[in-house]
Assembly symmetry: C2
DNA sequence: TTACTCATGTAACAAGTTACATGATTTA
DNA sequence: TAAATCATGTAACTTGTTACATGAGTAA
């Protein structure tokens, strides 16, 4: 019940999202969802997920109900407060509009400084690597819930924008 | 001279990039560059930059030369090893092709689950917020070096792709 | 000489990672 | 019952943050 005013971290928001749209999950199921998702950058490590869920439960955002079985599993659901806080997190325009940390963008400026035979080779290797990534994402698009599908579609859009940018840079060089 | 084989972190790569393309900078100048850049997500905090530079110097990737002035400032440049390792980092296709962690993408799936008057309001608020961000980025585009300009252009492309995605979702709703 | 800024650094904290420990349940 | 897997949790580490300490130059 403490730290009520602190805004949620990205991982905490993602955990609440997962419980909300999947409904009454166990901690293990939340963890697995992160591990499987190719559009989330967390590994779904136990050392991150379990403490975060414990904190959210202690803060009164998650209701944790023990099951009858002997196992330590508990069924998790959102409290009213949890729903409210999740909603705030989802709709926070400052966070949602931030550009995030993009390994491609971080390196992009330096590619122009590369010596010319290397530069083309590097950009072409990257180009085909990104096409592979897109294929991988497309393959995942089948048989997925709506939430994850939106994420993957956006990941594909990002990769396509990167391809167009690379095409421009490769065309510039062949002038 | 230790940990030679460990691959560079994103921050370490960004620091080497900064020193390389700016040439012989002080730690303070590197720090300021991070603080000013809108396309990098680090705050350029002293507690991150100084230890990272110390580590890179100890590993033999950065050469640190004391200045004559009484101040503690040192001029930093890359060693041959530093150039090589920076080049590897820049051209690493696995890292460069990864989608990164995107606050917009993380939330996008949940917007579809919002109740309808709220959903349109939220998406519209986000739309105009992103347009503001683009204006801010465009204003920065003037009088910038090539490296930072590429980054900002990519940030603008990302925001424009987000706008198109939002337009689609808003149009869908008004069917 | 007092106050302000420049420049470097450190301490305490936050939030993630891997790797391991532990115990329950299922399957061979 | 032995082995594999399910499920939760914890310890040690990494890498970032903010806030503070420290000391050198500069302007009033």
């Amino acid at each position: 019940m403490k730290n009520r005013q602190d805004s949620l971290t990205e991982l905490e928001g993602a955990i609440l999202s997962e419980i909300h749209h999947r409904g009454r999950s166990t901690a293990f199921q939340v963890r697995k969802a992160f591990q499987v998702s190719p559009s989330l950058e967390w590994s779904g490590s136990a050392g991150a997920v379990y403490p975060a869920i414990a904190k959210l439960t202690a803060s009164g955002l998650i209701l944790s109900e023990k099951t009858d079985s002997g196992r330590k599993t508990s069924l998790l659901s959102l409290t009213a407060e949890g729903e409210t806080r999740l909603n705030d997190w989802i709709c926070d325009p400052a966070r949602a509009a931030s550009v995030g940390l993009d390994p491609f963008r971080l390196r992009a400026g330096m590619w122009g400084a590369l010596a010319e035979p290397m530069r083309r080779t590097a950009l072409k290797a990257l180009h085909s690597r990104i096409r592979e990534e897109i294929d991988g994402l497309r393959a995942r698009l089948v048989d997925l819930d709506a939430v994850e599908r939106e994420r993957i579609e956006l990941a594909i859009l990002l990769q396509q924008a990167r391809l167009r940018w690379l095409d421009l840079r490769l065309a510039d060089a062949s002038r």
